[in-house]
């Protein structure tokens, strides 16, 4: 039990009844002062979590609103699609009408594209040429990657042959342009046809193979294309590629105009690819496939979704787009080199997708921006820039679930997990119901009783000490000090089930402690073999058992 220096205030209690002669209690005993029961209540109900002023609430800016303006939305003519998804609501405190922009992505896209469109005005003089060239490359590669993310993300076909489609279209259109003198504006449409044909050929195995078998197969196909084009004489095995196709950038223009035309050409291609992404991923085909993600195809099929057809359709549409990009590539660079088929190109492309996050247009664009900037602008770093790109890719893959754009979701999931962990560390379980249990219990009175009982027991535990026990041992009956009186009142209120009682075996026999069963007709059970000579000793034995039970609860 407790020692002398346990923070309890001790004093000598005098029995107020002793003036009326012997009333059965102690006359004078040392005991402790009873603390205020409110202290336990306050300690139990206190909010013990450290709180910070910043970041406690979600903060969204609310725009002022008028009741009728909510219906007066800006829409894309001639459809009924609204430009921004806006929700009207009333402020809970002030009851003012407010507007909340639910999806801000269109705003961010518009700002980012505006920035890209105006960026050439702000390029520094010394880096102008490098940045314009890199910008054109960025536009073309971002367009390819947006299409690729449609295949990998939306259609869930893990194809690594996207650059092969672009390369084949570029090579064939350059060859046609060089040998038959086709004008530049014919190259992209011809590329589309080539893309469709090549896409149909590589789509055939995709219907049977799944997942990574297909990925490895397409990796091989890419290598096959590389070896075929490198070894064939018509496609310039000697000169390292094809040159001399017609281009939309005229030779007669000033070099700066040429670079500028190349930049905006790439930019327009990117915008077109983004529209394609929006119209496939955000409309019927994309929605069908959101119903049938990986490993849940069977469910989608059972509900009548023909996901295979949708996937192949997306694959073919995207191959056509990739063929278009191939034709554009040939018209942009006046030809094409073998590096488009290289393993490094596929690797860098995959790095772009993974860094940004697969399955999102913004991920593809941001990843391309990062990789192209590292690869083309920091040329002075030499081979280190590829090492840097590889390390960024490795970092992203190791620590992020779905690229940079998956960070928000991942962070929220992590924060919720931590919240749960912290809450579980500060929840005390002493007979009190946890919030999740409480919803299962119908009798709410029971919850309050358990809560009260827990605090009551916490309070009474603080009263048990050597003095109180000694006081009870000396005189179990009669008037007691307040601390002992409170303990005894609690013990007396115990329910009948397992309540202790004293049993005497015949007149003059020893006393034993039994416990009631709580059922009529079931005899009490003996709780210990110990025998007490006198009834006072037995009273004290029952008291000690109850004190033990209290301290262990």
């Amino acid at each position: 039990m407790s020692g002398q220096d346990d923070g309890k205030e001790r004093y000598i209690w005098r029995n107020p009844l002793s003036v009326w002669l012997d009333q059965g209690g102690n006359d004078e005993v040392p005991t402790i002062r009873v603390p205020d029961p409110k202290t336990v209540w306050e300690k139990n109900t206190a909010y013990k979590v450290t709180t910070h002023k910043v970041g406690r609430f979600k903060y969204y800016h609310k725009w002022a609103n008028h009741g009728e303006r909510l219906w007066n939305r800006l829409r894309w003519w001639p459809t009924r699609r609204s430009v921004l998804l806006i929700r009207g609501l009333y402020n809970r405190k002030t009851l003012k009408a407010e507007k909340l922009i639910v999806d801000k992505r269109p705003i961010y896209w518009a700002l980012a594209l505006l920035f890209l469109a105006l960026a050439p005005l702000g390029f520094p003089e010394s880096l102008q040429n490098t940045l314009l060239t890199a910008g054109a490359i960025f536009g073309i590669f971002a367009a390819i990657n947006v299409c690729w993310t449609l295949i990998i993300g939306t259609a869930s076909i893990f194809s690594l042959a996207s650059y092969a489609v672009v390369g084949v279209a570029a090579f064939l259109t350059s060859w046609l342009s060089i040998n038959y003198g086709l004008p530049w504006w014919l190259l992209p449409p011809i590329g589309m046809v080539i893309g469709l044909v090549f896409g149909s050929i590589i789509a055939a195995p995709a219907m049977r193979l799944d997942g990574f078998y297909y990925a490895l197969l397409t990796l091989g196909l890419n290598e096959l294309c590389r070896v075929y084009f490198i070894t064939s004489k018509e496609f310039g095995s000697a000169s390292g590629g094809l040159y001399g196709a017609d281009s939309y950038i005229s030779d007669q223009w000033a070099p700066y105009t040429q670079s500028l035309a190349a930049y905006y050409g790439g930019f327009m291609l990117l915008v077109a690819a983004l529209f394609l992404f929006r119209f496939i991923n955000g409309k019927r085909l994309g929605r069908i496939l959101r119903m049938a993600p990986e490993k849940r195809e069977a469910f989608a099929e059972a509900t009548g979704v023909d996901y295979r057809r949708a996937r192949i359709t997306i694959f073919l549409l995207t191959s056509v787009a990739l063929g278009f990009i191939g034709g554009f590539y040939a018209a942009h660079y006046r030809g094409v080199t073998f590096s488009i088929f290289g393993f490094d190109t596929v690797l860098l492309g995959l790095a772009m997708l993974t860094i940004g996050g697969i399955g999102r247009a913004e991920g593809a664009v941001l990843g391309t921006l990062i990789v192209v900037m590292l690869d083309k602008v920091l040329v002075t770093l030499g081979p280190f820039r590829h090492i840097l790109i590889g390390l960024i890719m490795l970092f992203v893959v190791l620590f992020l679930n779905n690229g940079l754009y998956g960070m928000k979701k991942q962070f929220r999931a992590w924060r919720d997990k931590k919240k749960g962990e912290w809450r579980s560390t500060r929840t005390e379980k002493g007979g009190e119901a946890l919030p999740e249990e409480a919803t299962e219990i119908d009798d709410k009175d029971e919850l309050y009783h358990r809560r009260f009982d827990k605090m009551q027991r916490d309070y009474l535990k603080g009263l048990v000490c050597d003095e109180v026990i000694e006081e009870h041992r000396r005189k179990p009956l009669g008037q007691h000090s307040e601390a002992l009186e409170r303990l005894l009142l609690h013990f007396r209120r115990a329910p009948q089930v397992d309540k202790y009682a004293i049993h005497r075996e015949g007149f003059g026999g020893p006393h034993k402690i039994v416990a009631f069963s709580g059922n009529r007709g079931t005899s009490p059970r003996l709780v210990e073999d110990r025998e007490y000579a006198t009834i006072e000793e037995a009273y004290h034995g029952v008291f000690m058992r109850r004190v033990n039970d209290l301290m262990e609860s």
Binding site: A204, D210, G211, L347, L398, N401
Partner: protein, 293 residues
């Protein structure tokens, strides 16, 4: 060109690429990791053998064991960098594959920066001698390559069949979840698997360098060929990989003889695609639903 000569070449190439294919296959089926960094391990082991031959001794035993050892070290490195942190994370398969690709990107660039772009050659491991059977002249390196790769494969298969660790690996192949429940350490098994498969890639690097040179990107072709053979044979099946290696070797020999060298890859891929369309899980296709994650 006579058919025997091409056939023997095809068998030799199939032996070397077969080692990589079996390595890819074992890694996939036991760890669920598509390791596309065998190309890097291949070059890494080649350079390890090269450095040993220059620095320590160019005795064949030294060179070969150095290649095998650096291959195993490369495998362990990749296990520690990719498999250990990623194996219990969401999207493990795709992230594991991407991470191995990232490692091969970084690794080849580091090799390029350290050793320079010039190709290196290894000393002749098998000496210079010839043997003639039925008018076919077999040179020492050809016999050595075939014997070495078959011995390596046999040793690995025997180890997997008879040892305690091999039992653990086979249990992981059948059901990784159940294997971890009965007390097989996924991480320690990962290290064994990656070390052994890395050693196989290392040996194939030493063997292939008898014919070709070592360069930072020389691992790409063996990787692509190995992966194709493993695909065709069915990922996870050693027998399937062996059969596929023989089929693809014969295809290569016949194509080179009948149509010409530049059509080799085309016919090979046509054969692979045909086989995969008929049996989507490869020739063996035993692990139909065993490895889902």
């Amino acid at each position: 060109m006579n058919i025997e000569f091409i056939l023997i070449n095809a068998i030799i190439v199939a032996c070397i690429y077969g080692l990589v294919a079996v390595a890819v296959s074992i890694t996939w089926s036991s760890l669920g990791l598509i390791n596309l960094s065998y190309g890097f391990i291949f070059s890494f082991a080649g350079y390890g053998a090269y450095v040993t031959s220059k620095m320590i001794s160019d005795h064949p035993v030294w060179v070969t064991s150095a290649g095998i050892l650096t291959g195993a070290v490369g495998g362990i490195l990749i296990c520690a960098a990719v498999f250990i942190p990623l194996h219990d994370k969401p999207n493990f398969t795709i992230r594991g594959m991407t991470a191995t690709l990232a490692i091969s990107l970084v690794g080849s660039q580091v090799l390029l920066w350290w050793f320079g772009p010039r190709a290196k050659s290894l000393p002749e491991v098998f000496g210079f001698w010839k043997i003639s059977i039925f008018d076919i002249v077999l040179t020492s390196d050809k016999i050595g390559i075939v014997v070495c790769s078959i011995v390596m494969l046999a040793v690995v298969l025997l180890w997997m069949k008879s040892s305690r660790r091999g039992l653990e690996i086979r249990a992981m192949m059948m059901n990784p979840h159940a294997a971890s429940i009965v007390g097989i350490g996924i991480r320690s098994t990962g290290f064994y698997v990656m070390a052994v498969t890395g050693a196989m890639a290392g040996l194939s690097a030493v063997l292939l360098s008898q014919t070709y040179y070592i360069s930072p990107f020389s691992g790409l072709v063996p990787l692509i060929k190995g992966v194709s053979i493993a695909l065709c044979g069915g990922l996870g099946s050693v027998q399937g990989a062996v059969i596929a290696a023989i089929i693809l070797g014969i295809t290569e020999a016949l194509t080179a003889n009948v149509l010409g060298g530049q059509y080799v890859l085309i016919t090979q891929f046509l054969v692979i695609i045909t086989i995969l369309i008929i049996r989507p899980r490869g020739i063996a296709g035993i692990l139909d639903k065993a490895r889902e994650q």
